[in-house]
């Protein structure tokens, strides 16, 4: 009986009544360290396209020119706010949350190489990729006229009916070879390493 009275007294307190009917958790705020869509700083973009190369989301970032000034543009609805473009940009053109601060603190740099993979069971040794590759054509001009190469300096070439990758490190990741393979046997993958502390 006594507890019943306590309850009634408790529930009749004006403070309790007002908090019950107007209860609110703290207002909907976004913390300052939230990694939101990258925003432009006032640094100058050099049109190196490192941001576009690293971006994992299709069509999320594009570097365009306005009145002679290059600048990256981010499309909401495509960008996944991963922050990789901020880490990749050598000029610190983009910023979001704490990323620029820790990038500086850890001396973070991203370094990319390309890995070429050829599926030997679907590759029929036509050599389309080796002929189309702009780096190959630069190295061995004979490819342009004759379509065959005997040079050992090219990225890849057909040797005894099989496509062999000789100098993967020369690949620039243009993916021309992928587009020219009718069997989709060749795949070029970007391999990115994050380096800390300014090591080379």
């Amino acid at each position: 009986m006594l507890s019943f009275i306590y309850y009634i007294r408790e529930f009749l307190r004006p403070k309790w009544i007002t908090t019950f009917f107007t209860a609110r958790t703290p207002p909907l705020t976004t913390p300052p360290y939230f990694r939101d869509f990258p925003e432009l700083t006032d640094k100058e973009c050099t049109h190196c396209l490192a941001c576009m190369m690293i971006c994992p989301a299709p069509e999320a970032i594009i570097v365009t020119q306005h009145e002679g000034v290059w600048r990256p543009e981010i499309t909401k609805g495509h960008c996944i706010r991963c922050g990789l473009c901020i880490e990749a940009c050598p000029e610190d053109v983009l910023a979001s949350g704490r990323i620029l601060a820790y990038k500086k603190e850890e001396e973070l740099t991203l370094q990319g190489t390309f890995h070429i993979e050829i599926n030997q069971s679907t590759c029929m040794g036509c050599g389309n990729c080796s002929v189309a590759c702009p780096v190959n054509r630069e190295i061995d001009p004979a490819l342009r006229s004759s379509g065959t190469s005997t040079s050992d300096e090219v990225i890849m070439r057909i040797d005894t009916g099989q496509n062999k990758v000789l100098h993967e490190e020369k690949c620039t990741g243009c993916k021309t070879c992928e587009d020219n393979c009718s069997n989709k046997a060749i795949r070029v993958a970007r391999v990115v390493e994050a380096l800390q502390g300014g090591e080379e």
Partner: protein, 151 residues
């Protein structure tokens, strides 16, 4: 404004019923919707209730990049929701297909091709605060004086 309309506005502003449907997402956005229910964000204090029954819903939250299995299911589901109703796209997926929109995948974004979308919340996934503030800012536009403005 009639008394009845006033009453309806008052009730509707404190009673928004939500159903959500995943048309092929990674579940990231669904988890953020779930986080809205948690004590930290607590959507029920704003009078938003999750029922997940289209027949009772006012707001349909859509996540996912629209896989082909939803071709014949999303439209009927949308038609089941009584007026006034509104569909909100959550995350990048219903807008652009996000990271799944690549050659040779089966997704068919955007979802606005299939049903009318009133608002889109970009992000992968969006923050719960972004979801809640969108619903709260959308609700008065859609539900206030609905009977008078629809004519």
């Amino acid at each position: 404004m009639s008394m009845l309309q006033y009453l309806k506005n008052t009730v509707r502003s404190r009673s928004i019923h939500v159903a959500y449907v995943n048309v092929g997402s990674c579940n990231g956005c669904d988890i953020e919707i779930l986080a809205c229910l948690s004590p930290r964000y607590d959507i029920e204090q704003y009078g938003i209730y999750v029922h997940n029954n289209p027949r009772e819903a006012d707001v349909l939250l859509i996540t996912g990049a629209f896989s082909s299995q939803w071709e014949d299911k999303l439209k009927p589901l949308w038609d089941k929701i009584p007026h006034p109703k509104v569909a909100v796209a959550i995350g990048n997926c219903p807008i652009s297909g996000c990271v799944f929109n690549r050659p040779e995948t089966l997704v068919d974004p955007p979802v606005s091709k299939h049903i009318p979308i009133a608002a889109e919340i970009p992000g992968c996934p969006p923050r719960p605060t972004e979801i809640i503030s969108t619903i709260l800012s959308l609700a008065p536009i859609i539900f206030k004086d609905y009977e008078e403005t629809k004519k």
